[in-house]
């Protein structure tokens, strides 16, 4: 298939382990819309229409293959009563933990998505982007996975203590975070989202030891994904995957977002025909790339992973930093058009 495809055709062909007209690109620009609108990040994220307009302008500017109704990850922490910390130059971050004791876990209430203003804004943005996309562009929602959300809710070290020491409280916590994840993902699917990305950094090889993960995270994530009524792309948010690919295949995800810390060619080899991959441009290094460096990085990724399909070019973390320059973003897309036309011969490793 070499005639020009729509973005949604391109993405679905690639996710079906076939070769579309060119490599699809998920340019995951969640904050650059604020620059386009001349707004600060706090104001930008205060209204659905800002995010919608920002996303549409960015796609008109760069021509990438997705639209993102995503606001910021800490939206879900806010739904549980947390106070996000805003800054001028990066995504709002989770502030102080909302779970401070074991008792808080057993008293934790499931947020009501219908009554949460931030989540409702996300759904409104989803509906408007779906309408604007007119079936031509995938609109990709986002959830924080049930196994990783507690890092925001209670802090990483407290959560690791819980994982190792308190199976009863862990089980109770997973009941709430899994149910919330399912509800929030399904609300986005119901609003028209084509698929959802599920961020589960704690599923990564470098974050949780295999035995711990298989006893704790794997069954929860598999159960959660099975209840989401649409395609789920599992993101390890820059975490490593090699050595655990078989377990990820068993989770029922439609795709896996992989790290720049590993060989993309090897990831592709192990996932080929089983699990499409997204990756693996280094978002942090991208901040200091020249346009030419961006072009070379894109070329290397494409040559390592694009042959045969099953590959979407994206950054490794799932959120391109606010500091990345516009000419670098433009160079990424230009290189994808230049080097990403199928057929593509494998060449080098990344």
């Amino acid at each position: 298939m070499n005639s020009a495809m729509t973005s949604i055709e391109r993405v679905f062909t690639a996710l079906g382990h076939a070769e579309p007209d060119r490599v699809p690109v998920f340019l995951l620009v969640t904050m650059h819309g604020a620059k386009e609108l001349g707004l600060g990040l706090r104001e930008y994220f205060s209204k659905a229409e800002h995010v919608v307009e920002g996303q549409l302008r960015l796609r008109a500017k760069y021509g990438h293959d997705c639209l993102l109704p995503f606001f910021y990850g800490a939206v879900e922490y806010e739904a549980f009563g947390g106070q996000a910390v805003f800054s001028d130059d990066g995504p709002p971050n989770a502030g102080a933990p909302v779970i401070r004791s074991r008792e808080d876990i057993f008293a934790l209430e499931l947020p009501d998505i219908r009554r949460d203003p931030r989540l409702q804004m996300g759904l409104e943005a989803t509906r408007r982007l779906v309408e604007a996309a007119a079936g031509q562009v995938p609109v990709v929602g986002t959830v924080i996975g049930p196994y990783s959300l507690p890092v925001m809710l209670m802090g990483f070290e407290s959560y690791l203590d819980l994982l190792h020491d308190d199976p009863l409280a862990f089980e109770r916590l997973m009941v709430v975070t899994s149910r919330f994840c399912v509800d929030w993902a399904n609300a986005q699917i119901a609003a028209g989202a084509t698929a959802v990305g599920c961020a589960e950094p704690l599923a990564a090889v470098n974050l949780t030891e295999r035995g711990l993960f298989m006893c704790t995270g794997h069954p929860v994530i598999a159960d959660t994904i099975s209840k989401i009524q649409g395609a789920v792309a599992l993101s390890l948010a820059s975490g490593r995957a090699l050595g655990r690919i078989d377990t990820y295949v068993g989770l029922g995800a439609a795709a896996l977002a992989v790290s720049n810390q590993e060989s993309l060619a090897e990831l592709k080899r192990q996932c080929a025909g089983r699990l499409p991959i997204l990756g693996n441009l280094n978002g942090v290094a991208m901040v200091s790339w020249t346009p030419e460096q961006a072009r070379q990085q894109v070329r290397a990724c494409i040559q390592a992973a694009a042959p045969g399909g099953g590959f979407v070019l994206a950054d490794t973390h799932g959120e391109i930093p606010f500091h990345v320059a516009d000419d670098v973003l433009a160079a990424i897309m230009q290189a994808a058009h230049e080097w990403g036309r199928y057929p593509i011969e494998p060449c080098c490793d990344v």
């Binding site: 971050n93 933990p97 890092v151 690791l160 470098n206 030891e209 978002g283 942090v284 901040v287 930093p321």
Partner: protein, 217 residues
Amino acid sequence: MGAAHDALATRLEAALLSLDRAEVGATFAAIAGPDTIDRVTLADSVIAPALLSIGQAWDEGSAALSQVYMAGRLVEEALERHLPAAPPRPGAPRIGVAVLEDHHSLGKRIVCAVLNSAGYDVRDLGSGLDAVTLVDRALEQQVDLLMVSVLMLNRALRVSLVRQQLSERDAHHVTLVVGGAPFVHDPELYRRVGADRCGRSAADALRIAAAYEGGER
């Protein structure tokens, strides 16, 4: 005692990686038994090699962060039980550890645990600090090595404000060390923000402290 200490370090590492509390305790009991050794010898010959090896395994991808964290925690627990009143290493640098503008303090917790276990004088300066407060606390505590942990890229870029604060207060004697995910993903970033050193892992924190102790600034 070299071979005996090596064997204990290997035994301790295996017990820590498998989260075998009983074996960690038994190893410490063996160390602190009839031929009691001092804290510095213990740190240098048994604890630090075990923790260094685990930290290096994480850096190379063969151990997980959950193991690094639990190793530090288990060693701290065992030290508290077996060597509760050990003084810090004589002549070693005073180390301050802080998180810049963030409440995610796992990295700080791990670094504090590992350095404490190795016998260093470590001051926890806190989390969620802006550059001014962070440097205020570092100077109040008279630290020689200031280790700053960050989670997000925009916070990493603000390490330059910490450097600026240190310069404006003529604190040129303080060595600024940074760690955290952004510095792992971009190994040259620490130079651009004005840090003197970068630690990819808790093992690097130990190496940097030891190098400073050996006269490297």
